[in-house]
Symmetry: D2
Subunit: 366 residues, 4 copies
């Protein structure tokens, strides 16, 4: 597990560069007997796919995933699952001009100093293109969680630059190119993004993710707390800069009497905790948010240096997302699903089957 | 590594309950030849120790750490280091009354459902008392980083409830019981905390941590990015609810042209990234913040249930911190140091010695 | 997991030097609810304890183990279990003479070159004394396996130098100081060992271990096969030089028609495989053997060098076992139990509860 | 790391079934800057390839490996390396007849009970075909070890059924289809194998592996000793039943004065230890042996049962190796190289660069 793997028991390892031959992943540890097809994986890949709206990169990739192993007659066998997506629309010549330059705010500089030898084409391994494999692997976890445990993982963009969602209508989320839950804001978003694209600049976004139907007790005390692992899995997504659980940074000004979620025989009275107590799932909805920075690949000129340390002016051409947070939605779902799946298995190993909810517990938000 | 371990190469594993016989840790993987004594560890333990001011728990523990192995004639031998702190001031009878109750906002409920059998005395394993061992282990990492690499890790409380630091005078931090960097706010803090304690309530806090002098390139691409691991290590501290790197959630409204840190032959012009680009350290100061919730063990009565699911009114007696964020400062430093140490070793394994900074690189904030 | 840990889900991490303050271990991942006391652990510690017969080292250690955490009101809580044994009979002055010398066949030479700084007293970390903690941790696994799954792990010395066991009477094993299963050979063993001790030399031994009552399917395909992990766990014991499963090296001259274990509705007709097929347990008895070399700490003079590379003649004084294979018996049992426990938990995580044997399957040896 | 991964820092994860679409692997953690091409990997793949002589399976696979990522302009980039081999000569119809049967001595029975759902075609994941990816991944480790450290890993069959090598002429090994080091025995081998094939039976073999030029100090004390990890890596190869280091099982009858390798300023006087002392490499040649059982897929009829538990007579048709030990030679080399590479990196992480041999040390066998 040298950095390209996540999960202790449900382990996903990926490979692939933005402009290489192919992207791939191995999903190891999946329970046997789960019905899974390439079409199941394609659903989320299509949600993440570039080139689907004018607000994402113009690169056109079918992102057609192939299952190469681990599934027999439509069901998982319990052995490692090989996944592959061939790259088809690499235009590497776009990038040759920047092989000696460091784009400000980009991994160019740090990869160069760490490894010496880097694939600069389209960001190579540091490209968000790598996340396609996370989405494919996450789709397996999502299906298991939904079918075997009734756990639903869902995400949306709840803020894009200055535009905030003021209501959550989850049925809206898949109906617009922004994965936005507030239908009243779609026009503002459209306007905002059109202007942004025209300016050649980019903007940040915030993604909210929820997991519903979790059993009580997923997670480990101390270092591998469920919140710590959720933070790890989400902050590991390209461009993520902050992660919060439940009330997040608002807890700084809260009193204990205000923050604690009181309980009654009817359930929890609130969910400030975001569904995690003492590092373990409480059975309430798990709620987390992630901040995504604006991509640094923009057409606004900026000061930088080259590999010789000389001053240069940079303008990133090529095809880029003006707001990487949008396409992050299926990635966020995938990562949370992978982490929950891993903890579900860890729980089973040590404590046996997950706690069946009594009529009262796990409790729902009042 | 079943939850009580952190670090892949510099691995810390802890044990111990709040009211058990002792707390302990094993630090495995420490390089040989590091001069280390119990006194070195005691410095940070004393900073974390309960009972040092009227604003922390009244429990009095000397927290005297013993090194049981792995150090010979004052230097580490490269073998596993055993650490032990005996508990001396357990008053378990304080807790017998709550053995059948779930304190709202506390791990009682989730531990009960996960494990069935829990040590309810003082929160058992879920008590922040466990973090004493993290501090002891972290002190080893801090010393190695400082002596061998010139890396300094430091933290402070930069917000406590409504009181925010408006200036950073690091020399102040160790001079007041709040680890607060703004001397002008000490009187307000004192007033605030006196009122809070009187009310029997608790409050949240925000801790800022910095690592100075890092080489370029620590971290791994993809899942084990340095920011993801910092998020994991910090969110794994009791009561943490949010973690940010650099500008954190503010990136949501930033433009790319605003967020990216431009570079010149003289260095980086800014540090919005918080010292991490593409998941790797950039050589700039690493900057992160953590939100700590108000402790749920308060004397304000609250609604809850017992293990039979019946309604009860809870008042937590016993000895508790009104603001757990304060004593979190040395814990935050310890966790960041452990994670940096681990990544330093991972870097050495794959890429050899760390990048020596040239006069220009790594660059400093302009 | 920097070398002093074993097990992925049932994880044992140890510390301690031969002449340090104490030995310790953390057992992480143990299922909650297992009744366990210090006395349970002491049984196997006493079997391994030095100074119990004239055929083991004269060092006298009570090896009294303390459980410091993870057990509440007599039952495991699912949190990490801290174990401690204080050293009482260290005579470090015995060893000062050899601090600059490399004993032939000993870890002195390799530790010196790897770490630079080594605790030479009694072999420090390389001493077999470290295995006391393995035995203590293994006793927890043994109890779980026996009580929850009906799995019995047992070992014996089946060859000591030239003296081979010709019959297996397991009731004999605990009745003699050699853990030998053949009562007819006890007199020969006694004679042989008396002569050996007189000569100041040492001798090798072979240990056989069996696990009875295993469910079908423990183990993982490919790298973490059960046989591979058994080989790892056994070869990791001090002085082990070879490990075999089932017919072991005899398979080299066997034909396929001879080696394969035929099956009928009544069960397997033989057990050449030693209870493992395709890396997974078959439900037959798991059978393995380990060769232990003669200790290199002997009183017969030998040629060596010192840390300056100069020629020296070595005679090891101090207190040593003439046949380390004897006291290895409880260690072998402990290591096999730890590994089986780990695989039982891995199996539960991925495949759910272990296969309940039908009247016919898993089959017994005919 | 759910069973299909090996190595902590140089990590190899594989997927693929015997009759699936393709086999693949991800090599994670390889140092950057290593010159590597598909042709480098192909050399060992061709040595392992089926269908190259009449003494191996008749299945014809070109086993053409593709590098999909992690190599840029001919050199590794430090990111994960994706490898792929497409299956071309699957004849799955050969196997449909045995989908409901358990071949004696085969993984059919245990996979069926562990997973419920198994790919029975050609043994699926339990097929030795999976080892092609180990050989490809191992070739990367071999190249690094040879080029960067001067470490050579080499193996040969030193016993095939009753025919033993009596001399070691390593130049012979690549000149005959048996990887046999004794040219005088080639005629006997030829005769023996011709008869064996005629009989429809199979036979076991023993493989010897050596690593030359190792630095002193690779390995970890206690559980991850180099010998323990070599045992793990070798026993994890299909059909392996025993592993020995140095004198192996012969140590059982040796005296300490006989076994210990004496040292002089000119070096070690012998190598009974097989190059490992205290779990660490001594700088002498690492010597290990592995026993491979005769394959259980033979044409001699045998008694078995079907998935209903009913009695059946089995004859395995299809294409199989009469002696799987032969093609194991490049696999053994690959596995040892992967494990040494991993320990080299672990050593660098903790202790810095490997010990440079002085003129005298590490010493050579006298």
């Amino acid at each position: 597990m040298a950095g390209n793997s996540i999960g202790k028991l449900f382990t996903v390892t990926t490979f692939g560069e933005s402009h290489g031959v192919a992207l791939g992943a191995i999903v190891d540890g999946c329970p046997p007997g789960l019905a899974i097809t390439e079409a199941d994986l394609q659903i989320d890949l299509d949600r993440r796919r570039p080139g689907t709206s004018r607000y994402t990169t113009a690169r056109r990739e079918p992102d057609q995933v192939k299952i190469l192993s681990g599934v027999f007659e439509g069901k998982t066998t319990g052995t490692s699952i090989g996944l592959l997506i061939e790259n088809t629309d690499q235009r590497s010549k776009d990038y040759s001009a920047i092989s000696e330059l460091f784009r400000p705010g980009h991994a160019d500089y740090t990869y160069h100093h760490k490894y010496g030898n880097r694939d600069y084409r389209g960001g190579g391994r540091s490209s968000a293109r790598e996340t396609a494999m996370r989405v494919a692997a996450g789709a397996i976890a999502k299906k298991y969680l939904a079918q075997q445990c009734g756990v639903i993982v869902r995400a949306c963009v709840n803020q894009l630059g200055p535009v905030k969602a003021e209501q959550y209508d989850w049925s809206q989320v898949e109906q617009n190119p922004f994965f936005f839950p507030d239908g009243n804001k779609l026009e503002s978003l459209d306007d905002y993004m059109r202007e942004l694209k025209k300016s050649g600049d980019s903007v940040g976004a915030k993604v909210r993710v929820e997991a519903l139907g979790l059993p009580v007790g997923l997670g480990e005390p101390v270092f591998d707390r469920l919140d710590a692992e959720i933070a790890h899995t989400l902050m590991g997504i390209n461009a993520a800069k902050a992660v919060s659980i439940g009330d997040g940074f608002e807890v700084v000004t809260q009193k204990g009497s205000e923050h604690r979620d009181e309980m009654s025989p009817q359930g929890f009275a609130s969910n400030h905790a975001g569904g995690i107590l003492g590092g373990l799932s409480s059975g309430q909805p798990l709620v987390a948010e992630v901040a995504f920075k604006p991509t640094s690949s923009i057409m606004v000129p900026g000061q930088s240096i080259n590999t010789q340390g000389e001053s240069v002016e940079m303008v990133t051409r090529g095809r880029h997302d003006p707001c990487v947070g949008i396409r992050a939605v299926p990635i966020v779902e995938a990562m949370v699903a992978i982490t929950l799946m891993d903890h579900l298995m860890r729980h089973k190993a040590q404590c046996g089957d997950v706690q069946v909810a009594t009529p009262v517990l796990p409790m729902q938000q009042g």
